[in-house]
């Protein structure tokens, strides 16, 4: 019953873009219709998922008549899957509403319909990815998601930079798919069926098991954006329309996490080194991700890199849970997995919020370069408040949601210090995470301050204005969700415990609520909220009395501080950039300054993705050149071709 409804929901989402194709290329009706379908479908799906413990959700399997190459259409949903469905529905629906204001059909007649078609395809496909209980079916849904994702990223395929970033994504996603194909076929070979997710492979020797794990980790890691598999992520997010970026960052990355979560339990109790690999990858991604994010000037690239950081934190939590499984520590499992899942959900709340805010800024000021913004707080107050809240949430500040999940992960890590078989070496992760946290705070201070604080640096910024309700509405909803989860995490503990139980291969699984008392968070958060509300009220009634007109900022005696003299984002992180220059590996064009009266010199500095810019692209070029030089084999001389035939005959005759 539920399954049927979910299938209908998925199909509804997949088709949501189709009606638009039949409307006139400038009519808004198709877009509205599509959004309506999407929202309705998402609402139904959300209801089914949230109340599925009221209605029983048996893993249902479909056997349609006829021969299907992928075998039975086996679909099933457990509580873990249900948890992953939530953000898909939420962001897909909100994003399509946001699109009404951000990407209106009459402004984008060329690509609007394509965008919405792929939007529906991708959302629906992601639902199917979660529902799939058969690996070929899974691969189909997966690839539909990946490919429609590609067409979403290259919505504006007229622009070369968009095509370039899309190209990188294209290669990455296909590499991932090949790994997954290999993974599933191997799984099929060892488990004896295409059924997902098997634990028949439990008895395997270490070799094949390692192969399975690594294939799965690489395949899904590409989608999740774990360093060093993240190369496609920053440029892709930056060049896509903002609501597409939010769908990618908020939902599609989760699919990678989903896959990894499923992979690590194929063998029942995982080997210890799996957990170690996961934690290392997680910490590495978190640290490098935030370092690179800090250095960005393009605020959408910044947000993309911070996604890498958050995925890293999630993976760290997951790694802790895996270690808990292999070393038999229910508490680590509960806190690690609970933290990971919750953080994933939170990331799906505040990252779309931030990307939508970024879209609002681009909508108003029409640039992605922070350094040419500033002073937007006065010009787009609504977006400012929402972005500020989002930034506070992603910097894991209480009383917002990001804090709760990070607290769980930290706590889990602290718990590795004692217990029967303590593993204190894990705890070394903690200071690194602390540093990552501080740097995240710095990053988002930089983001909000450079865009919103002070005075506008350019005319474009000066003319910015708040977007309309279609764009603000979804953001407000997300912001409300952030506060709600942050202040009343108890609301989610039930679902979380179910999800953990679905993941843990043990008969009885630990419950979060038993380990950590979420009411304390509420106890601290509520005063904070009340306090903030009080301050807001006080400011509202107090400020206008005292603000004297025309009083400028105290300029320390310097008579004419220009607007471009304001402290910019780059200068904000200059020290860090210097300390981490080895990691950032930026491309800098230093000015030539000579003599007493040097001529006008300019300084340029950009921060491309080090791995893509310094490793991946050169290697690909090199390979391309090698292949290029091999082309003489086909020189066009028939005589040569004859010789080939003669030679191959002799060679084959000699082979025995």
């Amino acid at each position: 019953m539920n399954m049927l409804m979910l299938i209908i929901v998925a199909l509804g989402m997949i088709c949501s873009g189709v009606p638009g194709l039949f409307f006139h290329r400038r009519s808004a009706a198709g877009q509205r219709l599509g959004a309506a379908i999407n929202v309705a479908a998402a609402a139904v799906g959300m209801a089914v998922v949230l109340f599925h413990d009221i209605l029983p959700m048996a893993a249902e399997v479909w056997h349609p008549a006829g021969a299907l190459p992928m075998g039975k259409v086996a679909l099933s949903l457990d509580d873990l899957g249900a948890w992953f469905l939530l953000p898909i529905f939420l962001i897909s629906a909100l994003g399509s509403i946001y699109g009404l204001g951000y990407w209106p059909q009459r402004k984008h007649p060329a690509d609007g319909r394509k965008l919405r078609l792929c939007w529906g395809l991708m959302s629906g496909a992601m639902v199917l990815v979660v529902l799939a209980a058969n690996s070929i079916w899974f691969l189909m849904a997966w690839e539909i998601m990946a490919l429609s994702g590609y067409f979403l990223l290259t919505t504006e395929d007229g622009k070369p930079e968009v095509r370039q970033s899309g190209w990188v994504y294209f290669i990455a996603t296909h590499l991932a798919t090949l790994c997954l194909i290999a993974f599933f076929v191997l799984l099929r070979v060892y488990s004896g069926s295409f059924r997902l997710w098997p634990t028949e492979v439990a008895g395997l020797p270490a070799g094949p098991l390692a192969a399975l794990f690594l294939l799965g980790l690489i395949g899904f890691g590409f989608k999740a954006g774990l360093v060093p598999l993240h190369v496609w992520l920053p440029a892709g997010h930056a060049n896509a329309p903002s609501h597409v970026s939010s769908l990618f960052s908020g939902v599609m990355l989760n699919m990678g996490i989903y896959g990894i979560m499923r992979v690590v339990v194929i063998a029942g109790r995982p080997p210890i080194w799996w957990g170690v690999v996961l934690i290392s990858a997680g910490v590495l991604s978190a640290f490098l991700g935030i370092t690179w994010a800090l250095a960005q000037r393009d605020f959408k690239r910044l947000l993309a890199y911070s996604s890498i950081e958050n995925i890293g934190i999630i993976t760290t939590g997951l790694g802790l849970a895996v270690l808990g499984l292999s070393m038999n520590h229910p508490i680590w499992v509960a806190l690690g997995l609970g933290g990971a899942l919750l953080h994933m959900l939170n990331h799906s709340l505040f990252k779309p919020l931030l990307f939508m805010g970024a879209g609002g800024i681009m909508h108003g000021a029409n640039t992605r370069d922070m350094e040419s913004l500033g002073g937007l707080a006065a010009r787009m107050p609504a977006v400012f408040r929402l972005m500020l809240l989002g930034s506070a949430a992603i910097a894991a500040l209480p009383p917002l949601n990001g804090f709760v999940s990070e607290l769980l992960i930290y706590l889990g890590l602290f718990y590795t210090l004692h217990g029967s078989t303590a593993a204190p070496w894990i705890a070394w992760v903690i200071p690194v995470l602390a540093m990552v946290g501080a740097m995240a705070l710095m990053t988002f201070v930089k983001l909000t301050a450079t865009c919103f604080a002070g005075q506008p640096r350019t005319a474009a910024a000066a003319g910015a204005h708040d977007p309309d309700a279609a764009m603000l509405g979804p953001m407000m909803l997300l912001a409300a969700a952030c506060v709600l989860v942050g202040a009343f995490p108890v609301l989610l503990t039930g679902l979380l415990d179910h999800a953990i139980a679905a993941w843990v291969p043990w008969p009885q699984s630990p419950s979060l609520a038993g380990i950590f008392n979420f009411w304390w968070i509420t106890a601290v958060a509520v005063p904070l909220l009340i306090g903030t509300a009080g301050i807001a009220w006080w400011i509202h009634h107090w400020r206008r009395g005292v603000r004297e007109k025309g009083v400028g900022t105290w300029d320390c005696g310097y008579a004419a501080p220009g607007r471009r003299m304001q402290y910019s984002g780059s200068s904000l992180m200059q020290t860090m950039a210097w300390m981490f220059r080895r990691i950032l590996w930026r491309r800098e064009k230093l000015p030539e300054v000579r003599g007493i009266f040097p001529p006008a010199a300019d300084y340029a500095c950009n921060t491309p993705d080090p791995l893509l810019d310094r490793v991946a692209e050169p290697v690909l070029k090199k390979i391309g050149n090698i292949l290029e030089s091999a082309r003489i084999l086909q020189s066009g001389a028939a005589q040569l071709y004859m010789l080939y035939i003669l030679l191959i005959v002799l060679i084959l005759l000699l082979i025995k």
């Binding site: 946290g437 400020r543 400028g552």
Partner: protein, 305 residues
């Protein structure tokens, strides 16, 4: 009943004591300088005066500028309620509160720096930049200290572990670890409360300051709130430090409150002494200092593994 008294006592101390510590510090510095110096309660007078004053607000700023000082007061206050001042557990204590503690301080930092940048002045921006940059190094140090304490006490709850820290035998490796942790905690304290050698609270060269320059545009009650908040931060961290070094024993309540107060005064005096004896570090060496703090507590953690 006893706990009720303790809690109310703690709240009262938390609310009223902070400015006194500043006063003591100033007094000490004056003594080292051979001056008579301002009266102990001078800071209280200043705060009262500031509360009565009107404020001047740059037309560049937004509500964030107004909200920042108050948010930081609230957050620091809440953080303070998690650190036991006396032998009793703090009013707010639960497993994992240590993380809450750290992030509440971060919340204050978030708003203060934003407010500084909100003015659009490059000087205040400079201060904000330094604040957040140095935080990137003081946070790990703080968490390493927490690691040591959690490892020793076996509980991830602030009150419990601070109170149990006192059961460590003198001369054991544990005590050595505690000492190392205490040292790095002291550095963190200096950095967080922006004292010499990290920052000079009463120089007037904007180029060299951190906290002072951030609040350059605050005036009247706003400035008061900022000063109050930072002094409260000082109190909290000092109490934290004292719990690590002093063998407090919940049995003898009265004595311990005494010890605690004495300890706070002592810390203030030490800070004063440091400020008058040491020169301010060059800014580029501050991260080195903080990394050294990390190494200290990290080594402490290694000792007890």
């Amino acid at each position: 009943m006893k706990t009720l008294i303790a809690i109310s006592l703690q709240v009262v101390l938390l609310a009223l004591l902070p400015p006194l510590l500043l006063g003591i510090i100033n007094k000490t510095k004056a003594w080292f300088a051979g001056r008579r110096g301002p009266p102990l309660l001078q800071v209280y007078y200043d705060l009262l005066r500031l509360m009565k004053k009107n404020v001047v607000i740059s037309s560049t700023t937004t509500w964030v500028f107004l909200a920042a000082p108050l948010v930081s007061v609230i957050s620091v206050l809440l953080a303070g309620l998690m650190v036991p001042l006396g032998p009793m557990a703090a009013p707010i204590h639960f497993t994992g509160d240590l993380i809450m503690f750290a992030y509440l301080l971060a919340l204050g930092r978030f708003f203060t720096t934003l407010a500084a940048l909100d003015t659009g002045s490059s000087f205040e921006g400079m201060g904000a930049a330094r604040e957040v940059t140095f935080a990137c190094f003081s946070e790990p140090a703080l968490f390493l200290v927490l690691l040591v304490l959690v490892k020793l006490s076996g509980t991830p709850s602030l009150s419990a572990m601070l109170l149990s820290a006192s059961h460590v035998r003198i001369g054991s490796t544990a005590s050595a670890a505690l000492v190392l942790a205490a040292v790095s905690l002291f550095v963190v304290l200096l950095a967080e409360t922006s004292r010499i050698p990290v920052d000079d609270p009463n120089t007037h060269l904007e180029l060299t300051m951190i906290h002072e320059v951030m609040v350059l545009d605050n005036s009247g009650p706003l400035l008061g709130a900022q000063i109050y908040a930072s002094s409260m931060k000082l109190l909290i961290l000092a109490a934290f430090l004292l719990h690590v070094v002093l063998p407090l024993n919940p049995a003898l309540v009265g004595r311990d409150w005494g010890i605690m107060l004495a300890g706070l005064v002592a810390v203030a005096v030490i800070i004063g002494a440091v400020e008058s004896l040491m020169a301010r570090l060059q800014l580029r060496f501050v991260p080195t200092l903080l990394v050294a703090a990390c190494l200290f507590s990290g080594f402490g953690f290694l000792l007890i593994l």
